[in-house]
């Protein structure tokens, strides 16, 4: 995934090690669950004028 071909972009050696260890440490399912809950809260928040603007803009573009 990570390109280390160019020295310019090569992360420091200790960071590579950290990165590899991180795979074990971050609970990706817990993160996903938190994101889904926040997504539901976000989606439930009303934004009528914004949605109106989007529809108006898209209809003017398509016309």
């Amino acid at each position: 995934m990570r390109s280390t071909h160019f020295a310019e972009y090569r992360p420091k050696a200790d960071n590579i090690q950290l990165l590899e260890e991180r795979v074990e440490k971050v609970s990706s399912r817990g993160f996903l669950a938190a994101a889904i809950v926040l997504c539901m809260i976000y989606a439930a928040t009303p934004r009528p004028i914004l949605y109106e603007d989007i529809v108006k803009w898209l209809s003017q573009v398509i016309r």
């Binding site: 992360p11 991180r22 795979v23 990706s28 996903l32 994101a35 934004r47 914004l50 108006k56």
Partner: protein, 643 residues
Amino acid sequence: MEFGRWIVFLVLNIVIFVGWFGVLNRQAHTVSTRLIIAFTLSTAQILSSMFFLGLPWARLTAVNLALLNGGFSGALLAMSALRQQLLITFADLGRAARDLIAATRGGPVPKILTILTAVVIAWTVFIALIYPPVEWDSLMYHLPAVGHYMQQESITDPPLPMEAYSEHGIDGSVWVNAFPKNIELLFLWATIIPGNDTVVDLVEMIFALIGMVAVYVLAIRLGVAREWAVSAGMLFFLTPIVMAQSRSGLIDLSNSALVLVSLALLFSGTSQRRPSEVVVAGIAMGIVVGSKWSGLLFLPVLLAMLIGQRFYWNYRDRMPKLRQAVNESVLFIGPALIFGSYWYVKNWYLYGNPLWPFRISLLGRQIFSGVLAESVVRGRIFPSQLQGMNVLQMLWTSWRELIIYGYDHDMKLGGLGPFWFILGLPAIFYTLLWMIRRREWAQVLIFLAAAAMLVLHPDNWWTRYTMFIAGLGAIAYAFIRSAGPRPEVARLLDIMLIVMVIYSTIAGLTAGYYQPAKIRALLAKPANLRTSAGVRPEIISRAFDYIAGETAGEPANIAYGSGLDFTYPLWGSALRNRVYYLRPNRLSSWVEKLREKRVRYLLIKKDGPEQVFVDKSPLFRRVYFDRRRGYEVYTFRGIQTEG
């Protein structure tokens, strides 16, 4: 003539940037780091040249600026050429571009983000080129500062109203002399060299792009994989409030971008900070301090982070702590004070208060007198939806985007978009947790510093002031995503990310006055008739249009009266008019000043203090009246009478 000025402007910017990029040590800094360093130094150079030509004397002209900057940067370029660095510099930039393209081909997320970023850049350039400045604050004081400095060829304070609010209305131009003006000097740069304000609304977009690179640099230094570091940069750019401010004449985005530059340069990824990077981080923060009062709050936070990281590293490596911490602090604070302090010292000297016009009190005791209580301004801008809430409730309400209008450059609720709320926030929480478990305190301090700057800002619910946290959210997400979560989780996260960024990008493009029908109507008009009042008649009087129309062919001197919120449209898009505020003390002295300034048009508020004089004297003839907003335009015949 005009085409020639554009060429000069383009060449100057390239020469200044490449001049600095070329002299930077290739072994010491990566290409991306050199980009943000060269940009910061280029900005510092332009500001320094403005101070040199516009402060001790009135020699701030396009020719002088071009000669000074061209000469200095030409010398830097010659130095690079002598060291045979110039060709290598271009080769580095070419290779970096190729690597960037390769990184964006890594997967569906970087590919889609790249397409969206390209579309937004193209759209922003298009909008900025055809729209006149339309933002409240830019018409009120950011751009009037440009007009005044340009006409007087210096950056000293012009004579302007001293009361912000009066019975006659808001005197918007009081803020021209009140606020620090570093970024406005860059707006002046983008106006004075080409000779018009066509690209002034693109200055902030350049900062957005630099903010993108700073996010990338910080992500890489935190150990994020390149593909995701590039994505983090683009996620910052695609934040709705960043997109909206990219096409504005406001200064919030540049400040957040420079905070990100400073954060990136102060954390090298190891315990070895490069002194040159600490100095440039200080310059970046100095520009912030000299642009916005909030910089005064941010600077000590970043200093505390710098010292905290140094103490942690040296404690861990069993090295003496104090000396290096002091050295780095001086390298950081020195340039910050050099580039940030002028405007405060000037206000202290001229008005007896560094934060004039606000009254400053500490523990109930007034330290500096002023004409305005901060609570008065806050009371006027504070959204009713947040009344009675504590800080956390306010942030929650703003971040979940309980927005009453579409995405806008100064929207009060929302602006960070769904990505920040849904993925950025939990990503910061998880990343911090991981860093704390690993005892990566130097990395933790970066996020704590960002949190401290957020909490310290008195209007932290207003996302325009805290855009830098969007960069941290993007980095934290990239940190987690590049760690390689389980494939099924990664797939779902990618889908969520793509859906929400496509949605927020479209939503960000659709703000009310950028509707396609309005764009078509604007394009149908000749460039000099695309006026601010034409785009936003709900806040800008048509009286400005009348004056713009009358002075389009032959520029004129214009005076304005008390209680006027906006003054920038009076200059016209080529800034060929000269604009004055003349205090109405007595009729005879006021008329004398009008004569002295050779004023032809007068714009006043009906029932303002100037109205009595105008009614008494036969020298004035009303030629336009905006009944809805109560603005009157008069011609002044004092010059002809005299002749």
